[in-house]
Amino acid sequence: MDTLRRWWDRNWLQVALIGLVISTAWVARQTQGGSLFEVYQLLTRPFQSNPSKQELLTNAKVVEMEAKLQQVEKENQKLRELLGYVAKNQQQAIAAPIVGRGADHWWQQITLGRGSNDGIKEDFVVTAPGGLVGRVSSVTAHTSRVMLISDPSSRVGVMINRSRFMGVMRGKSGNKAVMQFFERVPDVRRGDVVTTSSASELFPSGLPVGRVESVNLSQSPAPEAVIALSAPTSVLEWVAVYPVEKNTDSETSQANSK
């Protein structure tokens, strides 16, 4: 007993500090490193680029194509209205700079310099020039963490745009992903454009994802295609964050079931 007390007299500070360190680390874990990312955002703010620079980079061709696309979209909307579709209210995108990459290489994550103070919430959809980037997985006041669609644990419902064959896409590190088809013999070719499918609950339908790079129809249990993702995540500096809108298809089916 006496030795224990003498040991305690000598080492109480060490024990207390170890306890403090472990519990602080535990808090950091439970809060998803929230305070760390807040400090990180504060420190990196002077080095973040501003959007005007990015605008300079968009070349004239993109501007021209965007104008054409707008025309087509407008036409499309008018036709939909004629058919009696209810126009979806377009929600404003939140522009956010990418301030950090993944803190480990097993996960494909990025950190954005905007958080709940700017209106970002969990599960918001993140897009960039080129298409879908990922989904917001956690938010602090001024930062948010995005799980990229190239993360091996991400699952996105996708569709071959040309033939409307559907499947599930899971990430493969790098700028690649693997699409697994639902059908045994899908109509798919190299170069086909892949978009999010209307059956996806987490992402709005019709967002461009990438292009088919190679097809393996003999793969078991289901045919697979390797997809090159179109958003160049490794060189991006800014992304757009959208609130999640439930797919109109799934909403109407829910309404019908009620």
Binding site: L13, A25, V39, G100, A103, D104
Partner: protein, 182 residues
Amino acid sequence: MIQISRLPYYGRQMLNWGVTIASVIVCALILPSRLPGMELLGIGPNWLLIWVVAWSVKRSVLQGAIAGLALGLIQDGMTSLHPSHTLSLMCVGILTASLKKQRYVQEDFISVALIVFGMTVVAETVLALQFSLVGDRSLAEIWTDHQQIALSSAILSSLWAPILYYPLNLWWEKMNWIENNA
């Protein structure tokens, strides 16, 4: 410049811990950044692992394990809770502390770089094993990823290790010297 040796015992201890904890925070903050020259195939050095090695090289197994646990929890918070980094970093702390470096190698820089290289491979292997057990990724993919991640991370971490090891080691040695001569 204050004379550290003139500070009272608890003041010195607090200062020592303050510097130590500040170095951990700096490591955690560099982790999500990709500074020029710190990147290979989109992979950066694993700063928290370098810190655990620097800490454990001249300390006991228990101290190494505790450091691994604390930094593992922090890295878990910064990435994803499952699988956990606590296991891999605790392995690193325990193994590094039980290496008894002084007995075999004298030169500090080179041996620390070598230890970091080996420990990165160990840590990534422990993570890959956990991924294999969890089972939400295919085995073939995990182990191809493992090769790429372990190799580039090990090369970069070992090259950058002296930058962190040298000042920290200097500080801890100085504090030790003061404690022993006080």
